[in-house]
Amino acid sequence: MAEPLSPEAADAYDPNPPESELEAHLPTKRMVVNLGPSHPAMHGTVRMKVELEGETIIRADPEIGFLHRGFQKSCENVTWTQCLPYTDRLNYVSALMNNFGFLSAVEKLIGIDIPERAKYIRVIGSELHRIADHLTCVGAIGLELGGFSAFLYGIEARELIVDRITELTGARLTTSFGRVGGLERDLPEGWVAKVLKTLDKVETLASEVDALLTRNRIFVDRMKGTGVITALDAMDFGFTGPCLRACGINYDVRKAHPYWVYDQLNFDVPIGENGDNFDRYLMRIEEIKQSHRIVRQALQQIPEGPVILNDWRIALPPKSEVYGTIEGVMAHFKLIMEGIHVPAGELYHSTEAANGELGWYLVSDGGGRPYKVHVRPPGFAILSGIARMVEGRMLADLIPTFDTINMIGGEVEQ
């Protein structure tokens, strides 16, 4: 058997290979294949360097950074409020959860409590986006395993949710919704009824996806027993969210450290047992249903009241005050020009985003701009475990595995 080729040597392209290299020898060499950075199965732009022996993966090495934007450094140059649009671009499939997670962390650093109604709206927005995120993930799994119909159903349902989100925030994708201290605007008129109707439709479509995939023989064969990771390994890698729960670990930030109003809502956290692709898929299917429960409860319970704090050191004054009184224009000017003066200090705060624990480590020096913004994206830890999940398995298993970990370039590469 020929000497295994080192990845470096394999990378080096020789335009005039010696005659012997062109001959096909049966005892195969190891081959290094680039999956990505622009490959339809590589969401975002991640490059996977895969070393193959035949069809068996010997080594898998994800190379990230194609979507690096300097998120953390950019945040240091703008006011706390101006960080918000940057957070949209983290997990762009469910931007609201990034927005609200960041705002919650800043609010905790200041030490303020936001109005009850704002908390409910944050829960509703987050759970709608969780449904959208999971639908995208599940649809994409179907798509990449050859089941295009499931993808279409999933995306049709997601589109309905995106429409509601657009009505709420004014943007399809880059929501930039919410402000420190609450939300900049209340629910639009008639929105609640529309959401309830949407939920019905989404439920039907999601169950279509479920029916198309969950008992589909081809799908199950590709998913069951592939991409396995043990609970211990998953914890060591720092897995959170559906990928951790698929291994049988019961950890959900919403239950472990309830924030907003999650402790006043009834919902279950699905737990898997095998830690394989199929369980990760099932987690998402079940979480979609649980999110439906949460949104319906929240829409029922949501109280009337203000959606943002009435403190001009934190929230912008109403426009009538800004245009009509010197007090308002001064508060507005100072908040816009200097930002919210967050007391000096540091903190870690996390929320449960679609893919797991979205953590924020913030440092303030007491000025209007962050001294440091570090984000712990759930996808980063999970992506680091992909080699463990696919090494020694077939190349074909990489595709569903990469699907079910649902790596989002925006948050992993920041």
Binding site: R313, Y323, T325, E327, G328, V329, M330
Partner: protein, 561 residues
């Protein structure tokens, strides 16, 4: 009746010991409470108090709680006494801050959007720190004169005024020209000039600086820039030989204003109007490219070609009396050290002539008659290098007599324009001028080399009293201009001499060895701290240190900034 109890001896002999917010303060008797509080990190807000003016105690913003009074007392006016406990953050004091702010803002117009002071306004700062409540006014605000022109440099918006009387006290006590007063009483009270007079003091601009709000405005600066777009660099005023310390406020590569920087020995906190307006030559009529040829024939050329041409033309005249050198005391110490070393070593000149701006009037306080910032430095450097320093008139008569054929001018400023001087300039065979601005000398020069003023490089000036003062660069050199010292290095290199100095700092370090007055001057340690930028605006410099608004290709021509 028993006698009052004997006073306890002070805790520290000769000092007053008291506590401010629990922190012990040991101060000299007579120390102002606001200043004492600053030393223990306690900020007491104030409007009318100014460390260099008498106490008025009329703004009521600095009210604090003290142990020997049942009522709140103004911190600016209350003497520190032994054992006094001062509290500045109790609920009563906080409520007092809020109430005072509310009163001050009661009749304040909604002007931030059009007010020059926005961004450096104490009303905005204190409102956000101490009040942050909505307005409770349900009536109309009082209307007053919004644009009362007080004098050539100052305009007053009486609606914005909070009647702290800083400006009135400044004119009385510092400028000693009482031109402002408080007229009427109660809600009709206003600052104004006395009938028939105008605020034409040479120190009127300082009233704008000390105005804590946007009431007094500089007519030269008004509506030209927003404060938060400006960056700030510590510098020295070049308007006269006093060397007042300034901040240069700039955007991109344009200077927008000078503000006084504190210096106890020279200008305290003040700046005269003439100096304040002297920044304009930094922006206007600048020479920005080297040009070769006289008058209509002038052609742009490259720096390297220009240096070669100059050295070719000047070298043959070296060591002859036919080559005259004119040195301007507008140039910095470093510029003069480098250029005069060059003329002495390479051109073999033993006698130079002093150029510079013509003398003007002096006034009763800061302004001197000599309008050049560095005459003392020129004298010291010429002396240290062994050069004879002659007056300008000698040069004029030598040129007229025809004994001079070539002129090398370091700085194009001329102290006088004697009749017939133009014609005699035309007769010269070679005129090489390093000029900051277009002028008569550059018009008749064969070679004009664009020079950078003090705003574009670091260096030092020696003022009339012999204080050597460092300044920092505000922005990169404009166009193709470079500092005088760099031109002399280029000329020396073109003449075939190895020239090692590559910065003003190195020039000074080399040159200071020969100039006794400079020998003990610590050039690095004397630099004003660059991070000291009060009111420099909330925009930080970019990560690479470039000021906000800096463009490689020059200042964008945007209306309004």
């Amino acid at each position: 009746m028993s006698p009052p109890p004997a006073k306890a001896p002070p805790k520290h002999q000769g000092f007053v010991t008291c506590t401010i917010d629990g922190a012990e303060v040991i101060a000299r008797p007579g120390t102002n409470m606001i200043e004492a509080a600053k030393h223990v990190g306690v900020e007491i807000p104030y409007y009318c108090y100014h460390p260099r003016l008498t106490i008025a105690a009329n703004c009521r913003m600095c009210l604090v709680e003290v142990s020997n009074s049942p009522k709140l007392v103004p911190a600016c006016q209350t003497p520190l006494s032994e054992g006094l406990a001062v509290k500045t953050n109790t609920p009563v004091v906080k409520e007092s801050h809020r109430s005072v702010m509310e009163f001050l803002l009661l009749n304040h117009p909604v002007d931030c959007a059009i007010c020059d002071q926005a961004g450096e306004c104490k009303l905005q700062d204190y409102y956000m720190q101490h009040d942050f409540r909505p307005s409770r006014l349900d009536d109309r605000k009082l209307l007053r004169n919004k644009r009362k022109v007080l004098g050539p440099l100052v305009v007053l918006d009486q609606e914005r005024c909070i009647l702290c009387t800083r400006c009135v006290r400044f004119m009385d006590e510092v400028a000693k020209e009482p031109q402002l007063g408080v007229f009427e009483r109660g809600s009709q009270e206003r600052i104004d000039i006395f009938p028939g007079s105008s605020l034409d003091s040479n120190y009127s601009g300082n009233t704008v600086d000390i105005c804590p709000v946007g009431a007094l405005l500089n007519r030269d600066f008004r509506f030209r820039a927003r404060a938060w777009f400006l960056s700030t660099s510590p510098s020295i005023c070049t308007g006269c030989s006093r060397g007042c310390n300034t901040f240069i406020d700039f955007f991109g590569q344009e200077t927008y204003r000078y503000r006084p920087r504190e210096n106890e020995e020279i200008n305290k906190s003040w700046l005269c109007d003439q100096g304040r307006l002297s920044y304009k030559y930094l922006n206007r009529d600048r020479v920005l490219v080297p040009t070769l040829g006289r008058g209509q024939d002038a052609q742009e050329t490259s720096a390297a070609e220009a240096a070669n041409w100059a050295s070719q033309k000047l070298k043959p005249l070296a060591n002859t009396p036919e080559l005259a050198v004119l040195a301007s005391p507008v140039a910095s110490n470093e510029d003069l050290i480098a250029c005069l070393s060059f003329v002495k070593q390479i051109l073999g000149v033993s006698r130079i002539h002093a150029g510079g701006r013509p003398a003007g009037e002096a006034d009763h306080y800061l302004m001197t008659a000599d309008k050049n910032p560095n005459r003392r430095g020129l004298e010291w450097i010429a002396n240290g290098l062994g050069l004879e320093l002659k007056p300008f008139e000698d040069l004029v008569s030598a040129i007229e007599a025809g004994s001079v054929k070539a002129l090398y001018a370091i700085g194009a400023e001329l102290p006088a324009h004697p009749p017939g001087f133009e014609a005699s300039l035309k007769r010269l065979e070679v005129v090489v001028v390093q000029a900051i601005n277009q002028g008569m000398l550059s018009a008749y020069a064969d070679l004009v080399l664009p020079a950078s003023p003090h705003s574009e490089d670091e260096g030092s000036f020696t003022n009339v009293d012999g204080f050597i003062q460092r300044f920092r660069p505000a922005y990169p050199t404009r166009g193709g201009s470079q500092p005088h010292w760099k031109w002399s290095a280029d000329l020396a290199r073109a003449a075939g001499l190895a020239w090692t100095a590559s910065s003003a700092r190195e020039v000074f370090r080399e040159g200071a060895k020969q100039i006794p007055q400079f020998a003990s001057y610590d050039w690095d340690a004397s630099a004003p701290p660059a991070h000291l930028r009060p009111g420099g605006g909330p925009l930080p410099a970019a990560a690479d240190g470039r000021p906000p608004g800096y463009r490689e290709w020059g200042t964008p021509r945007v209306r309004g900034i």
